[in-house]
């Protein structure tokens, strides 16, 4: 017994070092394997307030650009208004609520903190649990896809940016519906890579890339970008496609969080099907 105490006393610095490093490795491992964001939920509340104050100051310097983009978006929305279509029908018709049920709603949010030059980038937004934000909601901006909500505190949330090694988004080529998954290489914050597009599919530069609607996170046909370069290596079954992103991550200020009303229903159905499949085996 006495020897153990002497041993601990002699090497306590090393033991402490070992303990602390083990603890931080445990956090990293836990976080990377399960995507559990409990720690992030906690830290959001702390750092969110600081970023909020700074973002308030910074927003003054961007007022002109924000105004311009809002005006553009207003114009676009106005052109989609019911009253701006010429009605060709003689009889009027009502939209029946039993046929068209609203599936998606959008929560407007402001970007408080953002980075583009790390391998794994995150954003902090000024909307949280009390505004109805939950984990795994999609985030878009006027131009295109931004990321997926990862951690939520009462008034803030963190978003896994598209510019992150853990982000993988289901995308398709708008014209021919060939789908694949979109990842980021970590070099250029304006370029992503589209994987798994089969070689018999025709690809051209400049073709639009949009979300596929296969996941419950993003609705279909949200713009992502356009084909920047593409090539087909000899012996490879898949195209190498580089996508120029529509979202300007460098100066992102206002975004929308997507709420899918049927997400839980769809997810639970898929999980049920999967568990049934494994049970059968």
């Amino acid at each position: 017994m006495r020897n153990i105490i002497v041993f601990i006393y002699k090497y306590y610095v090393f033991l402490l070092f070992f303990l602390l490093e083990f603890f931080s490795l445990y956090l990293i491992y836990q976080y990377n394997t399960y995507q559990r964001a409990s720690f992030i939920n906690f830290s959001n509340g702390v750092s969110g307030n600081v970023f909020n104050t700074v973002a308030n100051f910074k927003s003054y310097f961007r007022l002109r650009q924000i105004n311009d983009s809002l005006q553009l978006e207003n114009a676009r929305l106005r052109s989609e208004l019911f009253t701006s279509y010429y009605n060709n029908e003689i009889r009027d018709f009502k939209v029946n609520d039993t046929i068209y049920k609203q599936q998606y709603t959008y929560i407007a949010a402001k970007v408080l903190n953002n980075s583009v030059n790390r391998r794994n980038n995150y954003l902090t937004l000024n909307r949280g649990r009390i505004h109805g934000v939950k984990q795994q909601m999609g985030v878009i901006c006027d131009n295109g896809v931004v990321g997926i909500v990862m951690g939520v505190s009462d008034r803030f949330c963190t978003v896994l940016s598209l510019l992150n090694s853990n982000a993988k988004i289901s995308a398709k080529i708008a014209d021919n519906n060939a789908f694949g998954s979109l990842i980021w290489d970590g070099d250029d914050p304006t370029i992503c890579r589209l994987l798994d597009v089969n070689k018999h599919v025709e690809v051209e530069n400049g073709k639009r890339i949009v979300t596929s609607g296969f996941s419950t996170i993003f609705p279909e046909n949200i713009p992502i970008g356009e084909v920047y370069t593409h090539s087909l290596e000899a012996g490879d079954n898949f195209h190498t496609i580089k996508v120029k992103l529509a979202t300007g991550f460098v100066n992102l200020t206002s975004v929308y969080i997507i709420n899918n009303f049927y997400k839980e229903e769809m997810d639970s159905l898929e999980i049920e099907a999967q568990t049934r499949l494994t049970d059968d085996k």
Binding site: V13, E21, I28, S43, R119, Y122, S165
Partner: protein
């Protein structure tokens, strides 16, 4: 003693302020991410007990993790630095330095010593930090580039900062 603690807290707030609100917002390139907050551990007096140096490293890393939406990566890197620092000092300083309990800055130890000290600490810190951030060996060379460029820029900032705040005596080596 109280003065010393106050000075460290003031330094901590100032460094975090510069790091989080200014440097993290400069998007130089995906390969250059200077992390100057590690200066806090570097500049502690040489007789700080080893356990204390470890715990300060751990706490500083936690704070940095909170402000960069990451989990554990800054904590690991700074704890490592807190462990290595006393060993580096024991190897490279002489008895008078420990008796005088000096602050290891450029004015006390000269350019060459400080440059080596800062370079080793920053390199170890960046190495741990960037590899844990990527969390795979798949992009080994890209990550290594990140480590080297970031170390270089951080080192430049810290050494220039030393020239700004201290008057350097003519080298006695």
């Amino acid at each position: 003693m109280i003065n010393e603690v106050l000075k460290q807290i003031l330094r901590l707030v100032l460094l975090l302020f510069i790091q989080v609100l200014i440097i993290n917002n400069i998007n130089l390139s995906p390969y250059v991410n200077p992390y100057i907050y590690v200066l806090l551990i570097m500049m502690m007096r040489v007789n700080v007990p080893k356990a204390q140096s470890l715990l300060i490293g751990f706490g500083l890393g936690m704070l940095m993790d909170v402000f960069s939406s990451t989990v554990g990566i800054h904590t690991f890197a700074t704890t490592l630095v807190g462990y290595i620092r006393p060993r580096f000092l024991a190897l490279s300083l002489n008895k008078e330095d420990f008796d005088g309990n000096i602050e290891p800055n450029i004015a006390n130890k000269g350019f060459v010593w400080f440059f080596t000290y800062a370079a080793s600490i920053i390199f170890i810190h960046s190495l741990a930090l960037f590899f844990l951030e990527v969390y795979s060996m798949k992009e080994f060379f890209a990550t290594m580039q990140r480590v080297l460029y970031s170390t270089g820029v951080t080192l430049m900032m810290i050494v220039l900062g030393q020239f700004l705040f201290f008057t350097v005596k003519p080298s006695h080596d």
